[in-house]
C-alpha cells in the first residue's frame, strides 16, 4: 500500500505555519488537519488569513515557518506529488471566458500531463458530476456565475484529486446557486474526497462537519462542529464564533495595554 493510501494519513496537515507580509502577520502558528473523506469548514472573517493559507497550501507562496503536507507529501519538499493530489477552486474566477468549457478543461488536463483522449473521458465524467454535461461546447463567457463555479469545481476534480480546497466559492451567488454548489461539494466528501471549504458565512457549516475558526491570523478553535460549540459554551456555531472572536479581540486589547 502506498503511503498516500493509508487511511490514517490526513488529507491535509498544517503544522505551526506562520507567514508575514513585511511587518504584518498574516498567519500565526496555524495548525489544522483535514481528515480523508471529511468536509471541513474554515471559518473566518475577511482578512482572517484564509486566502494566505490557501496560497501556502497550493505552493503559490513558499512556507517560511512550519510545514504543510498533503497525504503525507510535504508541499515544500515534494510539491509535485502534493499538488497532484490537490484540486483548487480559488475565490476569484480563473476560467478563460473566451474559450469553451471543454477547451478550459482540456487546458487544465494538459497542465496535469493528461493526454487528450484520457482528458476527454475525464471531462465527460466531471461535467456529469457537476450536472453540466450539456454545456461542454458553450463559451464560458455565456454561463452564469453559478455555472462558472460548477465548471471550476469540475476543473478542480478533473485530475482526480483526493483533497479539494475551495476559497469562498459561493461569493456572488444567489441563494439557490449557493445551496446547489454546497450540496454538490458535500456529496464529493461522501464519495471519498477530503474537502476544505473556506467561508465567512456561518450557515454554510452544518452538523457532522469539522470546523476550524480562524481569526486575525490565529486558529481559535477546531474540531467537530458540536465539540467546538460545546467547548465555547455556546448554543450554536454562530454564538460560538461570536464568543471566540470577542474573547480573542479582548485578549488582544489587554495585551496591547
Amino acid at each position: 500500500m502506498r503511503p498516500s493510501e493509508l487511511p490514517e494519513i490526513p488529507a491535509l496537515e498544517v503544522n505551526h505555519v506562520s507567514h508575514r507580509y513585511g511587518v504584518r502577520m498574516a498567519l500565526n502558528e496555524v495548525t489544522l488537519t483535514v481528515r480523508q473523506s471529511s468536509f471541513t469548514v474554515l471559518l473566518g472573517l475577511n482578512g482572517a488569513g484564509k486566502s494566505t493559507l490557501f496560497s501556502l497550501i497550493t505552493h503559490l507562496y513558499a512556507i517560511r515557518s512550519g510545514q504543510i503536507s498533503i497525504f503525507g507529501h510535504d508541499i515544500a519538499g515534494e510539491p509535485g506529488a502534493a499538488l497532484r493530489r490537490l484540486g483548487v477552486v480559488f475565490q476569484s474566477r480563473a476560467l478563460d471566458i473566451d474559450i469553451s468549457v471543454r477547451q478550459n478543461l482540456r487546458y487544465h488536463a494538459a497542465l496535469h500531463g493528461i493526454a487528450s483522449r484520457r482528458a476527454d473521458e475525464l471531462i465527460v465524467q466531471v461535467l456529469d458530476r457537476v450536472g453540466m454535461t450539456d454545456r461542454s461546447a458553450e463559451r464560458v463567457g455565456n454561463l452564469s456565475i453559478g455555472q462558472m463555479r460548477r465548471i471550476e469545481i469540475a476543473r478542480a476534480l478533473l485530475h482526480q484529486p483526493r483533497l479539494l480546497l475551495l476559497d469562498e466559492p459561493t461569493v456572488g451567488l444567489d441563494i439557490k446557486a449557493r445551496a446547489d454548489i454546497l450540496g454538490h461539494v458535500r456529496q464529493l466528501a461522501v464519495q471519498g474526497i477530503g474537502v476544505l471549504w473556506a467561508t465567512h458565512l456561518i450557515d454554510e457549516a452544518c452538523a457532522g462537519d469539522d470546523v476550524v475558526v480562524l481569526h486575525k491570523s490565529r486558529v481559535l478553535a477546531q474540531g467537530a462542529l458540536a465539540e467546538v460549540v460545546e467547548r465555547a459554551g455556546a448554543a450554536d456555531l454562530s454564538d460560538a464564533f461570536t464568543r471566540l472572536v470577542r474573547t480573542a479581540d479582548q485578549n488582544e486589547l489587554e495585551a496591547a495595554r
Binding site: 494566505t52 490557501f54 506529488a81 499538488l83 482540456r106 494538459a110 476559497d167
Partner: protein, 284 residues
Amino acid sequence: MTIVSEVRASLDRRGFTPAQYLICLQGIVWREALRFLHQRERFVSALVRPLVWLFIFAAGFRQVLGISIIPPYETYILYEVYIAPGLIAMIQLFNGMQSSLTMVYDRETGGMRTLLVSPFPRWWLLTSKLLAGTLVSVLQAYAFLLIAWFWDIEAPALGYLTLLPVLLLTGFMLGALGMLVSSVVKQLENFAGIMNFVIFPMFFASSALYPLWRVQESSPLLYYICELNPFTHATELIRFALYDKISWVSFAVVLGCTVGFLVGAILAYDPARGFLARRGGPGG
C-alpha cells in the same frame, strides 16, 4: 552532478514522464494559440505599428538619413531596408511586453494561479509559456516580412530560413525580459510606466532606426549605451540572419541575456525566492 542529470532528477522527482512534459507544453502553446485567435485585433495592431514606421516614418527620413555600406549590406541600401530588421525586433519587443501585460492581468484575475498550481516544475511552466509567446511573435514577424516584400524590401531566399532560429532566440530573450518585468509590476495600472521606462528607451537607444556609427558621431556616450543595450544586439542578429550571415558578438550577447532574463524570471516566480510572496496578501 551535470546539468542533464540534475534536470533528469528534477523530472523524476515530479513523477511525470517526458511525454507528459510534452503534453503540458503542448497544452500551454495551444491555449496561447487560442487566445491569439480570439484576439485578432492584437495581431492587427502588432502589425500596424511597424508598418506605420515603415510606410510613413521611413518614407519621410529616406532623404535625410544616408546609409553607407555597412555589414551585412554589400551595396547602398534604402532607409526602409535598413530599418526593416529593427521593426521586426520591435514586433518581438512589443509582443514580449504584451505577454507580460497578459501575465499581470492573469495574476489579477486568477488565471495565473491555474498555471502555477500545476504539479509540473515552475521552470517548465514558465519556459513553456515563454515558448508559446515566442511562436506568436515569430508568426507576426513573418507576416510583417510578407507585407514588406510587397514594398520591395527583399532579402535573399535563404535569409528567410536562417532568420527562423534567430527569431526564436530573440523572441525568447524579449519574452523572458517581459516575464521578468511582469513579476515586478504590481498592478495593471502600473504598466504604462513600462512603456516609458523599458520599451521606448530600449527601442530608441539601439541600432533599430539608425546605424551606431551615426550615433557615435553625435554622442559617444549614447553610442556606448546603445552598444550595451541587448535590443541593439537582437536587432543586429536579425539584420545579419536576414542576409544569411551571423554576428557572433550579437549572438553571444542575445544568448547570454536570454539565459539571464529567463533565470531571473524563474527566480522571480519561485515561491521561495520571488517577489510575489513578499507583497501584501490576498486579503481573504
